[in-house]
Point group: C2
Chain length 203, copies 2
DNA sequence: TCTCTTCTTGGACGAGTGGTCAAGAAATGA
DNA sequence: TCATTTCTTGACCACTCGTCCAAGAAGAGA
């Protein structure tokens, strides 16, 4: 069957990308379809025709965000001093949230807003968190093997700690006026497991 | 002027307490006045007469939650081995959230939901976070003085880390199926600063 | 050019929202 | 007992929400 009929007047990927930004900033419940219409320049009828209802549309945007996070985590896997990769990953993740007021992490925001009712969103978030945790653990293990991290550190538990720390910093960033205090917390987390003798970051 | 007229048919404190539970569980936006009416047994007219509009009512409930958190933090100030007090505080705070599905910390939930738009809520949250951080820092300093914590630990930065960790654990708890993994993260955070030779908790 | 198919447009719908208000009920003080 | 004051009751208002749909527009194929 040949595809025929009037073509889409917009690019699906661009629309999802724009919707991601709006949902990221305002959350699921507080974002109305009318708001999306204005921001995206697509009328509600077309939006429903192309992406289904609000919830499925939101899941697409959330999935897109999760892919971004997954991609950012690949930076943990490159060669080089593993501990500074971890620091850089955490700092950059925080900066992404600080680039606009009140965004935080869309995964954490969504978890706080709609879980545990929304099981589909839960699956996306659980998977993304799991991958981030695994990437962090792998980096920590490499760092320990290289002597950057003390030998007695439980890398699995500490990776979970770092993921939770990142999520918590996103929350605290909403009320914290001095951004440097957040970086200090990251430094403290890494300093606490740095092997004595390894190149510690100057305070 | 003597107070006269028909008396309240409900106790203000009890209503605020019940409203705190509902807002804690469901958040600000997703909780409707009708839901509160059903849950609290107070009709909308009376609710407005007694507490004003939804937003001021919510702030009362949030303030109430902040007082609870403040009270819980006083447990950090009692005498005894400071580090185990910290561990107990973090664990109990997490348990309070795990006692019901999808509650988390009302301060963090609210921060993620309505900040930075809602400045009044922001003030309440900022103050509560500040007090928790200060109480944690004080406990860490005591622990360091007692030799439980390594001398090179920056207690201020690490207190911030622990507060962020707690907030992050609340977020992650919404998707984590094995609760013990969260306790492991707390253990890892404290093990990382425990002075060698001090009584470390068995793994 | 004409038909077929798909997308766009924008108004409309029912449900649910926060908030209001007039009437009735219950207490006080004289 | 009665006037006064305050609280309760539940219907009601204007508004916003997500969603739907009939009519028109725009491309592809014959």
């Amino acid at each position: 069957m040949a595809r025929t009929g009037r073509p889409r007047s917009f690019d699906d990927r661009q629309v999802i990308e724009a919707a991601k930004e709006v949902f990221w900033q305002r959350g699921y419940t507080r974002t109305s379809m009318r708001e999306l219409k204005n921001e995206l320049g697509v009328l509600p009828g077309s939006l429903h025709g192309a992406f289904g209802d609000k919830h499925t549309f939101f899941l697409r945007a959330l999935e897109r965000y999760a892919e971004d996070a997954r991609e950012a985590a690949t930076a943990l896997r490159v060669d080089g001093p593993a501990l500074s990769r971890v620091r850089q990953f955490l700092t950059e993740a925080l900066d992404a949230a600080r680039s606009a007021p009140g965004r935080g992490c869309m995964l954490g925001n969504t978890a706080a807003e709609v879980l545990p009712e929304d099981e589909e969103a839960g699956r996306i978030i659980r998977r993304a968190f799991g991958e981030l945790e695994a990437a962090l653990e792998e980096a920590l293990i490499n760092a320990r093997r290289a002597g950057e991290v003390r030998a007695d550190v439980d890398c699995g538990a500490y990776a979970r700690l770092l993921l939770a720390l990142l999520q918590g910093l996103h929350v605290i960033a909403r009320v914290e006026r001095d951004p440097r205090r957040l970086d200090d917390a990251i430094d403290a987390a890494l300093a606490a497991i740095t092997a004595s003798g390894a190149d510690a970051r100057p305070l």
